[in-house]
């Protein structure tokens, strides 16, 4: 535990300095200190300690990154497990993490240089051996849910004490971002050996927070890792997550002060947050995309003009206003506008144009419109979206009835058994876009419900995006991918979900990120 002297302050010029800034000033040369004006001091992060109390949206499926499966786990995993690669919050561009650098000496080899001097929470050294242990476990252990993420890896070698070499089956430059997610979360090898299957409940990582306790469906407690390798972090003494699945209750817990912040709130709660006195809101776009999956192996949807008509028929702006209370971004392709690989030209392909949609239907040989077997989910939000979509589609002559069910049932019926013509659902997003595109459109992919071979050039373009590590060239390759997908209308993107968080005025520097899975590493507390 840290002693109470964290509140030692030095006052001057009306600014309060935390202990770290104060010590920093003392340690720095007098010249630097005198040059660093108040603004420089303010720009520095504050370390006031305190415990951050978070209203969390779901109980984790596991605290072991390899065996868990839910996208809602990351919020608990990120503080405990440092990842080999990090990303920029706004663009999801890869930046160094535990791997201080990486390079592709040839397209089928990825070399990671591991930061030295990092230890896991149990004192185990994080070196190349530990990284190899993790990567091998993630790609081969029968309990691992992320074997597919590392499918392109042929073998992992320790090429130096702090360097690992990944030999690849095919060129794959999506790997760095893959290693920013579960696959790159490093778990202490000694802890895995010690706990075995119980590692699900005994996470030992090298992140800013150490795991203390997990009470199912109730709370998760973390405390500061005093030996964290990033400068001046963590900024809080600990994080307590209270699991509150109901979003209204979650917001109330912040409004009445039992929690400092709550995430994954809903658009309809925005007015409440904005009205609520001491409570403030933060929101931002994510890669989580509501979309209509199309089975283009059969019926009218096998005709590209019909699929294009669907895309023209939907007024996405109106959909965002009506079904998300404006808290969303209209989607014209599979990436949101702030993403590094976004292509503004592709986004212009399908403006709302009902006349054009009718004309395309006529050209396709359906002057009287078509009837579709529509599928969707039965929760309140989904039903509302589906009703709006039905009205818009009916307007251009696309009729049909929705058959709805639970997420797991409907997904199994549509994707695995090929039932229905389309499914209104969502894509949760992947750190690297090439994963998104391959998983959604490859001929043998689970999410390609009709198992239709993708249009010519699509797989080549996806491969091209993986064979260069130059971000501008990758961007170009993704533009081609996106153009092929949207010109062939393989999907009807609808809207990107916003991550909406509410916090008390004690919480500072809270930011959303494009992945939509909150990280709290920059947050500090100050009233």
């Amino acid at each position: 535990m840290r002693s109470k002297d964290k509140s030692v302050v030095a006052k001057g010029n009306g600014f309060t300095l935390g202990r770290r800034e104060f010590l920093g000033l003392m340690a720095g040369t007098a010249a630097v200190a005198s040059m660093a004006g108040p603004s420089a001091l303010l720009a520095k992060v504050k370390d006031n300690g305190g415990t951050l109390r978070v209203g969390a949206a779901a109980n984790p499926s596991s605290m072991d990154p390899a065996t868990g499966g839910s996208g809602s786990d990351h919020v608990f995993l990120f503080p405990v497990f440092a990842t080999l690669v990090d990303w920029e919050y706004d663009t999801l561009k890869a930046i160094p993490g535990l791997a201080k650098s990486w390079e592709y000496p040839d397209p089928q080899t990825l070399v990671l240089n591991i930061r030295e001097g990092v230890t896991f929470h149990d004192g185990t050294t994080l070196d190349a051996e530990a990284v190899k242990f993790n990567l091998d476990r993630n790609r081969t252990d029968p309990r691992s849910n992320i074997r597919a993420d590392l499918a392109s890896v042929e073998s992992v070698e320790v090429s130096a004490p702090y360097q690992v070499k990944l030999n690849l089956k095919a060129p794959d430059t999506s790997l760095p971002l893959v290693l920013s997610d579960r696959a790159g979360m490093m778990v202490s090898p000694s802890a895995i050996k010690k706990f075995g299957e119980d590692s699900d409940r005994n996470p030992v990582g090298a992140g800013p927070m150490k795991f203390v306790e997990w009470n199912d469906g109730d709370s998760i407690t973390l405390e500061r890792n005093p030996d964290y390798w990033k400068n001046e972090r963590p900024l809080v003494d600990g994080i307590t997550f209270r699991i509150i699945t109901d979003s209204s209750t979650r917001l109330r817990s912040v409004m009445s002060g039992q929690n400092d912040l709550a995430y994954q709130l809903e658009g309809r709660q925005k007015p409440l947050i904005e009205r609520g006195g001491s409570v403030e809101g933060v929101s931002g776009s994510t890669v989580y995309c509501f979309q209509i999956y199309l089975n283009h192996s059969k019926g009218p949807l096998s005709n590209v003009k019909v699929r294009q008509a669907l895309n023209y028929a939907i007024d996405r702006e109106a959909l965002v206003r009506a079904s998300m209370h404006g808290a969303g971004e209209p989607a014209y392709m599979n990436l949101p506008s702030s993403h590094w690989a976004y292509d503004a030209d592709v986004a212009k392909l399908y403006p709302y144009d009902p006349d054009k949609a009718r004309q395309l239907l006529t050209e396709a040989g359906y002057p009287d419109g078509i009837d579709l077997d529509m599928r969707g989910y039965n929760d309140q939000g989904s039903v509302q979206r589906q009703e709006i979509l039905m009205a818009m589609l009916k307007d251009v002559g696309i009729r049909g009835r929705f058959k709805t069910g639970t997420i797991s049932d409907m997904s199994a019926a549509y994707f695995a058994r090929g039932e229905g013509d389309f499914l209104v659902s969502a894509w949760t997003g992947r750190p690297d876009p090439s994963l998104t595109y391959a998983l959604l459109y490859a001929g043998d992919s689970y999410f390609n419900a009709g198992k239709v071979e993708p249009p010519e050039g699509l797989m080549d373009a996806i491969r091209a995006s993986r064979s260069t590590n130059d971000i501008e060239e990758r961007k170009k390759a993704f533009s081609t991918v996106q153009r092929i997908v949207m010109e062939n209308a393989l999907v009807v993107p609808l809207a990107f979900r916003q991550d909406i968080m509410a916090h008390t005025d004690k919480v500072n520097n809270l930011q959303t990120n494009l992945l939509g899975k909150p990280k709290f590493e920059h947050v500090y507390l100050e009233s």
Partner: protein, 319 residues
């Protein structure tokens, strides 16, 4: 200590409890098969492949016939092994011993409030039947029976937690940790739970007391000069105590069921929340364990009630 008949009764009850427990867990297990959704899909994670889901089914034995699965569970449970959550891996016994006391605390608090408030109301109403006071109390108690817990919970939160900040809106402290804090957290949920109880206690007590007050032996007691207080205490309440006990034990069982909703509104880590979550996810070891714990509790409450009957009214010699 205990008479032979009582011992026999106790033994008899315990023997009866075993088939009840087996039947209840079997019924719940069967019903779980009807709940849409597949726990293997949940375990496999978002966007998992069919192959991975099949692997999970085999890994967790979910591909076995339903009777085999139940049989396995039962054999282990008899040996005291209730398994672990399929999803999070927390041992079921640990989950229950963590959350059940919270639920019991709130239920006990609510029942206590029902009695402490309901009994005086019932006595007041019965003291002058058909007076204005009686009408007001009975009217209010009709309302109390009709008001839904979750709605009242919301109203209480928005007034006492969000507007006036007297009580916390969410959360819970275990009484073992800090009793005062536990009371502070549990007050709003207990109030939301106890309105039905107050109303029921008041109505039952009133009707029983009115009946007794109009009986001939009470008229005799009046005639012999006994004070109204003494009549109420020595003869009235003593006579209705068995009725009251029945009401209270039913209340306890009802409140136990109502916690499902109240725990969600107040984000309390209790049994109701646990069961709902486990049912939705198809996490059957947790559902089975929780149901068993509830069934045992209800059986125990009924048993204690029956034992108390014999204490309150020695004429009862139930076997």
């Amino acid at each position: 200590m205990m008479s032979r008949t009582k011992q026999l009764m106790l033994l008899n009850r315990l023997v009866q409890a075993i088939p009840i427990m087996i039947l209840a867990t079997f019924l719940v297990f069967s019903l779980l098969q009807l709940v849409p959704g597949d726990v293997a899909i949940t375990i496999a994670g978002e966007n998992a492949s069919e192959k991975r889901i099949q692997e999970i089914r085999e890994l967790y034995g979910l591909n076995q016939p339903f009777l085999v699965q139940y049989g396995n569970w039962l054999v282990n449970a008899v040996q005291g092994d209730f398994g672990e959550s399929l999803l999070s891996g927390e041992p079921v016994l640990e989950t229950i011993s963590r959350v059940f006391p919270n639920t019991l605390f709130i239920v006990a608090y609510a029942v206590l409030l029902s009695v402490v408030i309901g009994v005086p109301l019932g006595i007041m109403a019965s003291s002058r039947p058909n007076s204005k006071l009686d009408g007001a109390i009975m009217g209010a108690s009709s309302l109390g029976v009709a008001v839904p817990n979750f709605w009242l919970g919301m109203v209480l939160v928005s007034l006492f937690a969000l507007t006036w900040n007297w009580f916390p809106a969410t959360g819970f402290t275990s009484p073992g940790e800090s009793f005062t804090s536990a009371i502070w957290f549990a007050t709003l949920p207990a109030i939301a739970l106890c309105t039905n109880g107050i109303a029921e206690v008041a109505r039952q007590l009133r009707s029983s007391l009115v009946e007794i007050h109009s009986s001939q032996h009470v008229r005799t007691l009046h005639a012999k000069g006994l004070s109204p207080g003494a009549i109420l205490w020595k003869h009235g309440l003593k006579n209705v105590s068995v009725n009251l006990l029945t009401v209270i034990s039913l209340l306890f069982n009802k409140a136990l069921a109502a916690t499902v909703v109240v725990e969600t509104v107040f984000a309390i880590p209790g049994m109701g929340n646990t069961i709902v979550k486990a049912v939705l996810e198809g996490d059957f070891p947790v559902v089975q364990g929780a149901v068993l714990a509830m069934v045992i509790t209800v059986i125990l409450v009924n048993l204690v009630t029956d034992l108390l009957y014999t204490v309150l009214d020695p004429r009862i010699q139930q076997v």
